[in-house]
């Protein structure tokens, strides 16, 4: 379980880094000055340094990604029972969002903070669900292929 959790967290970490890069590209396109802004301009302004803002942004995204990886592992572990599974999923997702809440200063606007938490949790959960479905489909395809190969081998033997 620990090995699996580490593997999921590492995968999530890498996906988080990629999501951070994608976010920066989208922000740069939105700002539309012709320059690439790695960090969110508002974050750079709030912390007074673009480097610090960029480090915080990478940290927040990668931490959230790692937590999402562990949450996806909980989502797939049906053997744990629904209560443990749900609690583990929610706790890992919430812990993943703590740095985001701190960087986004959600405590200053409680309602907006709760709304942001719910929106991000919904998006992340649906993405994890879709990723699980895709993985399941590829597993089924692999099994089908294996069965097909088995048949071919048995036909050749005949």
């Amino acid at each position: 379980m620990k090995k699996k959790a580490l593997k999921s967290a590492a995968t999530g970490f890498l996906i988080g880094c990629f999501a951070c890069l994608l976010f920066s590209v989208l922000v740069s396109l939105r700002v539309n000055t012709g320059e690439f802004c790695f960090a969110l301009p508002a974050l750079a302004k709030a912390y007074g340094s673009e480097l610090l803002a960029a480090l915080i942004q990478i940290g927040v995204f990668s931490w959230l990604g790692a937590a999402c990886g562990i949450a996806s592992l909980f989502s797939e572990s049906a053997g744990l029972g629904p209560a443990k599974q749900g609690a583990g999923y929610l706790v890992s997702l919430t812990l993943g969002m703590l740095p985001l809440a701190w960087a986004g200063r959600w405590h200053e606007h409680i309602f907006l903070g709760i709304f942001s938490y719910v929106v991000i949790a919904a998006i992340v959960s649906l993405l994890i669900h879709v990723a699980g479905l895709v993985r399941l489909k590829s597993d089924v395809d692999e099994i089908r292929k294996a069965i097909g190969l088995g048949r071919e081998v048995s036909n050749e033997e005949k």
């Binding site: 996806s72 989502s75 797939e76 629904p82 749900g86 309602f111 709304f115 719910v118 929106v119 699980g132």
Partner: protein, 103 residues
């Protein structure tokens, strides 16, 4: 009496229909913001849709339904998101989108 139990697919379909009706009603009735009755009808409809969706979401948590935990929690969060949006749009006077209900 025979109990009418919905299958997982039917429940997800009903929840999706609720979301669609919510969005359609919110933006259609939201355009008629000059009529107070339309605003009240919009609010009541949105609350009712969120309530029904929430009941279906809770029912979906039954172990009988074979859907991943992420899917169940994701749908629950989407419903909560719509509920928070209704609260945000109608009951919080500082927002004003669409016009607040209790002025």
């Amino acid at each position: 009496m025979k109990k009418n139990k919905l299958s997982t697919k039917q429940m997800i379909a009903w929840i999706s229909v609720n979301y669609g009706v919510f969005l359609l009603a919110f933006f259609t009735l939201g355009l008629m913001d000059t009529h107070r009755m339309a605003v009240i009808a919009n609010f009541v409809l949105d609350v009712a849709l969120c309530g029904v969706s929430l009941i279906l979401n809770i029912a979906l948590f039954s172990p009988r339904h074979r859907i991943s935990m992420a899917g169940k929690i994701g749908l629950l969060f989407v419903t909560l998101c719509f509920a928070a949006f209704t609260c945000f749009a109608f009951l919080m006077p500082e927002n004003g989108i669409p016009p607040v209900l209790f002025q």
